[in-house]
Structure formats: C-alpha cells, structure tokens
C-alpha cells in the first residue's frame, strides 16, 4: 500500500523541483520549493518519521521559506536578466548534461550495489509504538548530546552574524 502515495509524492516533488529551477519569478520558485518540502514531509511519514515530517514543514516551509519570500519582497529583484555572458555561455547546456550524468551515475551505483539490511532496534513497528518524537528525543539527549549543545552555539553565532550584517549603516 506504500506505492501509491510514494509515486504520487515523488512525482509531485520532482515536478515542483523542476519548477524551482525553471521559474522566471523568484516568488514562484519559492512556492515550488514549498511544494517540494511538503511532498518530502509526506515521504518522511511513509518512512515512519512523522516527527521529522512535522519539523520539516514547521521549520523549512513555515520559517525558512517565509524568510526567502521576505527577502524576495525586500529586494524586489523581479525577473532575472539575460543569459550568462562571455565565458559562461556554455554553462547552461553543460550544466544540464552534467545533471543527467549525475543521475545516471547514481542510478548505476544503486543498481550495482546491494544495500545492507539492518537488524537494528528501531523497526517501523517499534517506532510507531514508542512514537518517533520520543525516539529522536531519546537519541538526542544521550548519544547526540554534544551536537545538540553545539547547535545552540551555532544559533548564537547566526544571531550575532545577522545583526551585524543587517544593522550596518550603509
């Protein structure tokens, strides 16, 4: 029963991701990105990670992307200028070829390797029983305590950095 929602969400994510890349107006790109993020949240639910799904929507779609939209409005850059000039003229077609090659390469690697199956504690059934929030929290406050505390430093640095950059008198 997983396949119908999977293919639906996967198709949505890929189409919206293409939208992010090809839309002329940055506001539309941001909207398309919001769709990608929400579709990914749906996939996280399918993968028994509903806590991450909620965090993803709340932080990414609800906060980070709002900031993107704010900056787009703050700068009103409108549509972007012409195609790249001079030495960068070949960049676009090359980039598309490069992207195709990247997908092909990853697909090849995937086909050639047999991924290991884990025999860990956290089976989807166990996760559903204890709740993914509790599972993530338990790991965060034991094995990952140091990264957790360091995150606060990171956020502190970001706060200071933003104030310094934004408050500068031009």
């Amino acid at each position: 029963m997983e396949s119908i929602p999977f293919y639906f969400l996967a198709a949505l994510a890929v189409l919206a991701a293409l939208g992010v890349v090809v839309m002329r107006d940055p506001v539309y790109s941001a909207l398309a990105l919001a769709v990608v993020l929400t579709a990914l949240a749906g996939l996280y639910v399918l993968l028994s990670a509903p806590f991450l799904a909620a965090a993803q929507v709340m932080i990414y779609a609800g906060a980070i992307l709002i900031l993107f939209v704010f900056v787009i409005m703050l700068l009103s850059p409108g549509r972007e200028g012409d195609a790249p000039r001079g030495a960068l003229k070949w960049q676009r077609p090359l980039a598309v070829i490069f992207g195709g090659a990247l997908v092909a390469q990853l697909a090849l690697v995937l086909l050639m390797t047999i991924l290991p199956t884990g025999r860990g504690l956290y089976t989807p059934e166990y996760l559903a029983q204890i709740g993914s929030t509790q599972a993530v929290g338990a790991a965060l406050f034991t094995d990952y305590l140091l990264p957790f505390e360091i995150t606060s430093l990171l956020l502190l640095v970001a706060m200071v950095g933003v104030i310094v950059l934004a408050k500068k008198k031009s």
């Binding site: 396949s3 890929v14 991701a17 293409l18 992010v20 890349v21 940055p26 790109s29 993020l37 990914l40 996939l43 996280y44 993968l47 990670a49 806590f51 965090a55 993803q56 932080i59 980070i64 900031l67 993107f68 900056v71 787009i72 700068l75 850059p77 972007e80 200028g81 676009r92 090359l94 980039a95 598309v96 490069f98 992207g99 195709g100 990247l102 997908v103 697909a107 995937l110 991924l115 290991p116 884990g118 025999r119 860990g120 504690l121 956290y122 089976t123 996760l127 993530v136 338990a138 790991a139 094995d143 990952y144 957790f148 990171l154 956020l155 970001a158 950095g161 950059l165 934004a166 031009s170």
Partner: protein
C-alpha cells in the same frame, strides 16, 4: 517500496538542485537550489534510517534542520548586505574578488 526507490528519488532531486545552482544567475534561486540538494540528502538519510532500522539518520536530519536554518539566516543576510552596497543581485556582476 525498497530503499532504492527513495535513494533514486533523492539522486534526481539532488541533480535538479545542482543544475539549478549552475544555470541560474539569481543568488536567491541558486540558494534555493542548494536547499533542494540539502533536502535530497535528508531524504536519503531518512530512507537509510529505516533500511538500517536505526534512529541515527533521523537525528542527523533533525540537526541538519537547525544547521540549515542558521545557514539560510546568514546566507540571506549576506545577499541583502550585498544588494545594499551593489544594487544588484545578479551573481555575474558580483566579481569584486576576481583576480
């Protein structure tokens, strides 16, 4: 659905993001491409987390969310500061550090 389906989807999204960074000249959209790549990696993390029946992948994604937030906050602040001094957001015009 095996883990391969998810990893392949992640690879496609990652490549679209990478191509986006390369073909666009607007730093905001390039930044969105980077976010796309980051999210593709997150999807791979969560998929492997289920495959290996381990919670570590999910904790990683959770911490990546925090890192992404800090990164976007500072990154966009730089773009705003850039715009205020240069009045443009086309990356081709921002070449002050070019040798």
């Amino acid at each position: 659905m095996t883990v391969n389906h998810y990893i392949f989807l992640s690879a496609i999204l990652f490549s679209i993001g990478a191509v986006g960074v390369l073909i666009r000249r607007n730093p905001l959209i390039m930044f969105m491409g980077i976010e796309l790549m980051l999210n593709a990696a997150n999807l791979a993390f969560v998929a492997f987390s289920r495959q290996l029946q381990s919670i570590d992948g999910q904790v990683f994604v959770f911490l990546i969310l925090a890192v992404a937030a800090a990164e976007v906050a500072v990154g966009l602040a730089i773009i705003v500061a850039l715009f205020r001094t240069r009045q443009t957001v086309n990356v081709d015009d921002v070449n002050a550090l070019k040798g």
